[in-house]
């Protein structure tokens, strides 16, 4: 197989955002793909094409545009089905994003099935989107949250036999930490969850952009992801639920398209996935999700992984040379392409601000993981995250810019 580094320029050239340097000819060093990925030309073109050629509302019109939209939406749903290895398209609903999907799972399934004393098992790694909805569900049902602790490297410590017990109903974990890059062992979690009769919910917003997940082989019951992190459009996400589980999940949003019968005094719901697709879908975005998935497939997941690992390793090596930097989380070989760090004597906000001057775009703060930052014992970190279009020059520019930060804040004097 051809190593992606050889063809990385071809891949990068598919992203028009990099065609436009910053003022003074500064190149764009985009290191915030974990927050949202840039879009390849095919995705941009597809969105435009839908609007220019055949746009109409979905699942309503018999006229030709409506039929074309329906066909394209279903083709997109099928592409997601293939990516996830789901058994049926009916197990996949378009949502506004991973946050909405997780809210549907927590409220639609959780509230209906949880009893007082039941336990929801989360990890300390979770993004607020896979954390706060469960807190709300717990408050409403009398269930309890239990947390999987972390090892010093920021990986899941599953050694406590009490973690999975006969009160565990739901295990909800990230597929990849958005701060540490940690990759929880999903298959093991699935086995242990199922062994005590619990379901496994996976927040795949971070992990899916780096490789496909086979929901059947891995034993995942519910899964959430976002289009905009998959090199696709904003405003569209996916809710996957095993058929039997979706059937016993209440809708969270009510309105058009999601109903079966509406009477003056009550209504009944359409079958999944329509039950979870109330109102007008993000039609253009959902259709343009397909070229995003096709783009990832064209690069190839193995090549993508090899390339991202190379960048992460290079970043670890380069940052280790800079005084005062501490990187959090597992070593590059055991995590996704995310490098979160602090620099002694420099606030994350200053670092991000000064990096921006050098055209290096990173995220700073708690990254929607306040409990994790409490565990880390720091108020904020700086996060550099790599996508398929990044290259070793980007890593070098990050390191150079961090040296500039030290100089500007007079940390070496």
């Amino acid at each position: 197989m051809k190593h992606l580094s050889e063809t990385v320029l071809d891949v990068r050239n598919q992203f028009p955002i990099f065609d436009h340097p910053l003022p003074k000819g500064q190149p764009v060093t985009f290191l915030d793909t974990a927050a949202s990925a840039q879009k390849p030309q095919t995705v941009i073109d597809r969105e435009r094409e839908v609007c220019e050629r055949y746009y109409a509302n979905a699942y309503r019109g018999v006229y030709r545009f409506g039929a074309m939209v329906d066909e394209e939406l279903e083709a997109s749903r099928e592409a997601v089905r293939k990516l996830l290895g789901a058994e049926s398209r009916d197990e996949l609903a378009f949502t506004a994003g991973a946050t909405m999907s997780l809210n549907v799972i927590a409220n639609g399934w959780g509230r209906r099935h949880l009893q007082p004393g039941d336990e929801i098992l989360l990890s300390v790694l979770e993004h607020h989107a896979n954390f706060v909805p469960w807190q709300q569900v717990v408050a409403a049902t009398g269930a309890k949250l239990r947390f999987i602790p972390l090892t010093p490297a920021g990986e899941l410590d599953l050694s406590d036999p009490e973690l999975f017990n006969n009160r565990t109903r739901i295990v909800a974990v990230t597929g990849m930490s958005n701060v540490l890059g940690t990759l929880p062992p999903l298959a093991e979690l699935s086995q242990r969850a199922h062994a005590v009769g619990a379901i496994l919910v996976v927040d795949a917003a971070q992990s899916l952009p780096h490789g496909p997940i086979d929901v059947v082989a891995t034993g995942i019951d519910f899964l959430a992801c976002s289009g905009h992190k998959l090199y696709g459009p904003t405003g569209v996400g996916i809710l996957y639920g095993r058929k039997e589980l979706l059937a016993e999940t209440d809708p969270l949003i009510f309105g058009g398209h999601m109903i079966d019968q509406v009477h003056q005094d009550h209504s009944t719901w359409a079958d999944p996935p329509a039950r979870f697709e109330a109102g007008t879908l993000p039609i253009v975005q959902a259709i343009a999700l397909r070229p995003a998935l096709e783009f990832m497939e064209s690069v190839g997941y193995e090549a993508m992984h090899a390339h991202e690992l190379e960048l992460t390793q290079a970043a670890h090596a380069q940052l280790a040379e800079i005084p005062g930097i501490q990187i959090y989380g597992p070593p590059p070989e055991r995590k996704g392409s995310i490098v979160s760090f602090t620099m002694e004597g420099a606030a994350a906000e200053d670092i991000a601000h000064l990096l921006d001057r050098k055209g290096v775009f990173v995220r700073h703060g708690h990254h929607c993981t306040m409990p994790l930052h409490t565990w880390l014992g720091v108020p904020a970190t700086v996060r550099a995250s790599f996508g398929v279009y990044n290259n070793l020059d980007d890593v070098q520019r990050l390191a150079d810019a961090l040296r500039y930060v030290r100089q500007r804040l007079k940390l070496d004097t």
Binding site: A347, A348, E349, D350, L409
Partner: protein, 171 residues
């Protein structure tokens, strides 16, 4: 002493670029206006704010405690205030620190507006207008604005409470 970046325009002119002004005193608003007018673009102004921030008087570690924290900022911010009635009129003394130097620079602007002012002057000051005059409103992220307005709100509440107290003492 060389504190490049902190020099006022006058000092800069005098020394042809080699600034020799020690910035031990906090800047006044007029000096800030002058400096901002002198600096051509936002990046230079930011640099100036960072320098200002690096020179901001530090709080002691026992003042950097949770009750003094200002929430709503991306970075850590601590705010310490007291009513100083040693002079003719009681004035609000304000000291604040952040771990971020750019934020300390913005704090220096707040101190220029509020520190050493009577409670009435604090309430009369229009921080939004001053930030507009300095064009900070256009360049600050919404989160930074939230943090700043959190500090402004706290100072205004203190001033309002001080006025009530002083009125009661007068009666």
């Amino acid at each position: 002493m060389n504190t490049v970046g902190l020099c006022t325009r006058a000092a800069f002119d005098q020394t042809q670029g080699a600034c020799t002004l020690a910035a031990t005193e906090l800047m006044t608003l007029d000096e800030l206006y002058e400096e901002f007018d002198f600096l051509p673009d936002w990046e230079d102004r930011c640099d100036f704010l960072i320098d200002l921030g690096m020179e901001l008087p530090k709080l002691s570690s026992d003042e950097k405690i949770e009750p003094n924290r200002v929430h709503g900022c991306q970075s850590m911010v601590w705010l310490v205030t007291e009513l100083d009635d040693s002079g003719d009129e009681p004035v609000l003394r304000v000291r604040a620190n952040s771990d971020a130097m750019i934020v300390n620079g913005l704090i220096a602007v707040l101190l220029a507006i509020y520190d050493g002012k009577t409670p009435r002057e604090v309430l009369d000051a229009d921080a939004a207008e001053i930030f507009k005059r300095l064009e900070l409103d256009r360049h600050l992220s919404s989160q930074r604005k939230n943090g700043l307005s959190g500090m402004v709100t706290r100072l205004r509440q203190l001033a309002a409470a001080a006025i009530v107290d002083l009125d009661q003492q007068a009666n």
